[in-house]
Subunit: 769 residues, 2 copies
Amino acid sequence: MLGLVAGGSQAATTVDGYAAVDPFIGTAGSGHTFPGATLPFGMVQVSPDTDTPNFKHAYAWAAGYQYGDPTIKGFSQTHFSGAGHSDLGDVLLMPMAGPVRTEPGQADQPGSGYRSRFSHRSEQAHPGYYAVTLDDNHVRVELTATRRVAVQRYTFAAGQAGHVVLDLRSSIYDYPGKTLWSWIHIRPDGVITGFRETRGWAPGRQLYFALRFSHPVTGHQLLDTEPTPLYGGFAPPAAHDPSARPAIQGRDLEAVFDFGDLQGKPLVAEVAISDVDEAGAIANLQAETPDFDFDKVHQQARQIWQQQLQPFQIQAPAAMQRSLYTALYHAFIAPNLAMDVDGRYRGPDNQVHQARGFNFYSTFSLWDTYRAEHPLLTLLQPPQLTADIIHSMIASQQSSPYGILPVWSYAGLENWCMIGYHALPVIADAYMKGIRGFPLDQALQAMQASAEDPAYGDLKDYMKMGYVPIDHEPEAASKTVEYAYDDWTLAQMATAMGRSELAKQFIARAGNWRNVFDPASGFFRAKLSDGRFRTPFDPAAAGYGSDYTEGNAWQYSWYVPQDIAALIADQGGNTRFVQKLDQLFDAKVPPGAFANVEDISGLIGFYAHGNEPSHHVAYLYDYAGQPWRTQERLSQIVDSQYGIKPDGLVGNDDLGQMSAWLLFTAFGFYPVTPASNQYVIGRPFVERADLHLPNGKTFTISASPMDAAHPYVGQVTLNGRPLERLWLSHQELEAGGELHFRMQAHPNRQWATAPAARPYAMSADKYQP
Amino acid sequence: MLGLVAGGSQAATTVDGYAAVDPFIGTAGSGHTFPGATLPFGMVQVSPDTDTPNFKHAYAWAAGYQYGDPTIKGFSQTHFSGAGHSDLGDVLLMPMAGPVRTEPGQADQPGSGYRSRFSHRSEQAHPGYYAVTLDDNHVRVELTATRRVAVQRYTFAAGQAGHVVLDLRSSIYDYPGKTLWSWIHIRPDGVITGFRETRGWAPGRQLYFALRFSHPVTGHQLLDTEPTPLYGGFAPPAAHDPSARPAIQGRDLEAVFDFGDLQGKPLVAEVAISDVDEAGAIANLQAETPDFDFDKVHQQARQIWQQQLQPFQIQAPAAMQRSLYTALYHAFIAPNLAMDVDGRYRGPDNQVHQARGFNFYSTFSLWDTYRAEHPLLTLLQPPQLTADIIHSMIASQQSSPYGILPVWSYAGLENWCMIGYHALPVIADAYMKGIRGFPLDQALQAMQASAEDPAYGDLKDYMKMGYVPIDHEPEAASKTVEYAYDDWTLAQMATAMGRSELAKQFIARAGNWRNVFDPASGFFRAKLSDGRFRTPFDPAAAGYGSDYTEGNAWQYSWYVPQDIAALIADQGGNTRFVQKLDQLFDAKVPPGAFANVEDISGLIGFYAHGNEPSHHVAYLYDYAGQPWRTQERLSQIVDSQYGIKPDGLVGNDDLGQMSAWLLFTAFGFYPVTPASNQYVIGRPFVERADLHLPNGKTFTISASPMDAAHPYVGQVTLNGRPLERLWLSHQELEAGGELHFRMQAHPNRQWATAPAARPYAMSADKYQP
């Protein structure tokens, strides 16, 4: 415990944040989280895979596990937390007692193959620990992890021979031909190493592993199940005797390891991974798990997670408290370390590089996470983490064949998912908040190169014409408005660094959103290269290939985070703006309207809380001088979109973005415009939150009465003095202090409604270059 | 010139060995040599590929070029010299003037696609240089090389735009699915890098390259011609604009580079390769070709080859002289350097390793080359080369998943072609000859581990039963007799190193050939695990899956190089042995008898000079006291099996083994038993050969009269004293001196016929442990 009980205004007892986390939240439906074990920002995520249907039907299994499934196929070492599109599920292990079964079996035929039925009653999950009993396989399985090593403990039913199947064929988002090449070696020292190269989300991804068991392997089989391929090689020795081979290579490999009857003694399996090479995996294994002490690793994992969560003392109604600690847990899973113990990592050129002076991180879902996840990390995590993240991004840019900062990358590789160059707001936001420890000039250089990349997202036309023409590039309206915001963040940083020429150039680009604004309809629309808007136009139309990215005109037409005042003006002023916001939330949307866009979920009218373009929208009433309407919409969203059951996330957690939204919102403020250093005030959902910040200061949020009967903000004080504005600065949070909300049953239509009280960004004189 | 004119007994003028080489010898029919440019033991072999039919019909195109083909498809950077089975043909470049043609076209439709007709009249080839004019493409192409960089010079017809197609799809021994993954990057500095991973002879082989041109690329296309694959990724930027992409990845990649009209100025392309990574290829490029000076590289290549060939001053009838210098050239092509300039290389575990204190070599066709090629290198090349080769083999053994020394390996990887563990005779032969500079204990350890590998070639049964049983393992008779010889070489080395226990164990194994000798038929035959010979038995039957490896009982029953005296005794004595030898050579073999075994060629009766099991057989008459019969057979073989036309090699040159046979034979002696330090005397085919050995001594062979009318040895003197035995020791050669043969028209049935004059190995008391 961290001594949080001392101090006058603090609670008398500490909240056990670790115990409040429920890793099952988000594992049913669209949350796409996994229940298994990982460390904060760790490299392995060891977790059960219940079903891994092929590519075309895999959306629900993006994290390998769906709570409703009756069987577990095995325990793989890598998982995304909350991704939409997916990959990973590497190095699947499945233990069993009794006869060996080498085929995975059918997901809809429980008990077939090596998969096993299980009961949720036998499951246990805490941060860094997961356990389940496999009914058909007669094994108790426990999982824990260090940063780079997954540790699995199997207790086989006594009196039966124990086996472990290693299936390199299994993959999340699988399809024929996904595995390009793979191999397994049984080394003389008993360590089993392997390699798998896949053509998945990031094509050509190489994953190496080193696996060892706490008990001697008494027998093994190395199998290649590919139907005899046309092949230019000679058969290796022992090709026809799976039990005599010390090595195998191919595309459909599987191994079986036998242990005999262990008489109830548990078997520990340690699996280290590396993106670099076999030696890297072995070194990771040796560095992080020198012995087979599962309990020690589990206890370390628990302590590490406790240290992550305990500084944030949150008191709230029980369900909210559980949601919020789980959200903290989910927000602290990614980005992920993607570097071996010796500092080597793989870059977007698929080549090995050496990190010098920083830790290399990857798993950047930046279209999602620049909004609230990264701002949350800058606030709650030590600045070194963000400095390392930015350093990693710069290093990636420098070895990228495109010379561009990460868009959506993992394992160091780029997968080109989504749009924009949203590494820029992440870097600029951190810089504006005073985070240093990365090469500043290289950062700015990398940002500019990304924003001017002639091969990326039709930036060529964008730079020439001021917008992306839809006849040259799909999703052109979304791209134009997001590029314009990213440009503004570069201008912010350039200004602060005294690079006024560069700032001027990009502040001009930041106004490009106007080029796709259609005053007639009040929507952002895609323009053709001849300057006309594309017709016909349907503001409800959505989907890939339309004018918008995962959204429609209703959802995308609020996107000018850098200059909402100007957007309001263009929309015809505050009243018309609020009317239009209400139309968004109150629209009657036919069921199935977004059946073709699986990421659009969590609908309130056309507002889609399950997808990121909506995330800042509820806060926009503030900008029109009606903060009580923001408060109403937040209540509506929080009540309907979050829960503490497995289906408690209405959309993909998106590597922490959904969770970060809830955390900020529950604390009473949200970073509508990263890189502005402003947080926009909404309404809190906690009774009290003591945020012990990395700088040693404590920022406390308190609210009373906190109940459903008092959903409106009556008054706000900051350090005891009334706050008559709708925003806080990052400096105010970092200074520590107490933000108190007096809640009330009815709207306070007087508080902070004056124009001067409203949040600003680009429009404010002080941010002009 | 090396000042070879001085000295009393030497010729008055130097022979220009470099000029005598004809790289086209072996390029028609079964020789499988290539006419392109390479340095001695170099890493690149840049050469034209005329046709690359798919896997099933590729045998004749093992080196990419067949002299009879009417078109050239392009110029790739890697080729085997004389291999049977094949691979390589990496990074095909094809220049053209005029309109771009991106498809390869049909080999049987000259002028289709980017392939071009050519005339042999326009071809020029010398060691390290090749040139041709492409009629349809309007380009003069010249090739030369450093060790790791191929340099190509193109002179396009003036007035037409020049282009270069890079086709990563092209491969020698190709078939659908051979390319597992590949990519091309155009780097900001203009260097083009790339990668190809193939499932060929050595599955999972990774090849990297770095390519740059002497003139700016004015336009480019990066193309992926794979029909839209089911694919889990998002399209990268510029996916639909081949001219805007800076990078591409996939399985069927091609690039086109445009240069505009160069007005007759030549374009130089430099291509460095690396087995390690992109940085390795770039570093190799920068280290070896800092500028675009084709002429300088060409001159370097010429000087290096001259320095290799000039120490061996051979005077012989013109055709023989040409054959012999070409044989020296072919014998000095492989093994190949397989290490980047920084010492990194890829091992048989497909992982990157660092060579410390040695140069890493690969391309070991050991079943072929242990016989005469490696013994030739120990005699004619500096001992450092063989020390490096052995060091490379030991390093490979230490990183092999099987823990075994190379069998047939290239690019550091193992392809498991052929049988035996013939790295042992290579190491033991070198050791017995006094070559040091490699770790001796590790060498012996690696040799023993290879000879006891339980996963390899049924050594488990061989060690238990004394033979390989045919019901457990194919080609069991061949394996047993070859294992026994390899065992003897280990015993030789162990004895010399004072490891008498180990020697004893392996000298016992060296007698295992007796376990498959059938006294009834006089043949080696495959035994079943119950101890009986397999029936039915046909001594003429051959082919994969039979009792023998690329051979039949007639061809394999002479294989006891370590104890030919014992074999003669078992065969019933000298007379019956000679009768049986005559039956071999004089057998009436129906045409097409070996149609199913493409490697068996060069038939004289059942004697197959085109394949290695026959190579020592002509010398066996010596052992039965009839050296004039050996002399007759050698005349018969040399007359019928070698020539100076493109079809002048009757079988695969096998990485120099066919050439090494001719060289030794022409000098008058042959290493029937590597690791015995004995060379068995046949008859010479040179008038005079001054071998300036690496130790500074000169060993001279002279013979007179040297003409077809005097095919028999009348008398032999060594340093002026009559030699009354049928062998020379390695020490005698190394001491320098002159071996003179007086040739005569009729057999000398008296010379060296006494038992004491005969070559020995195991039977001699001095080699018993």
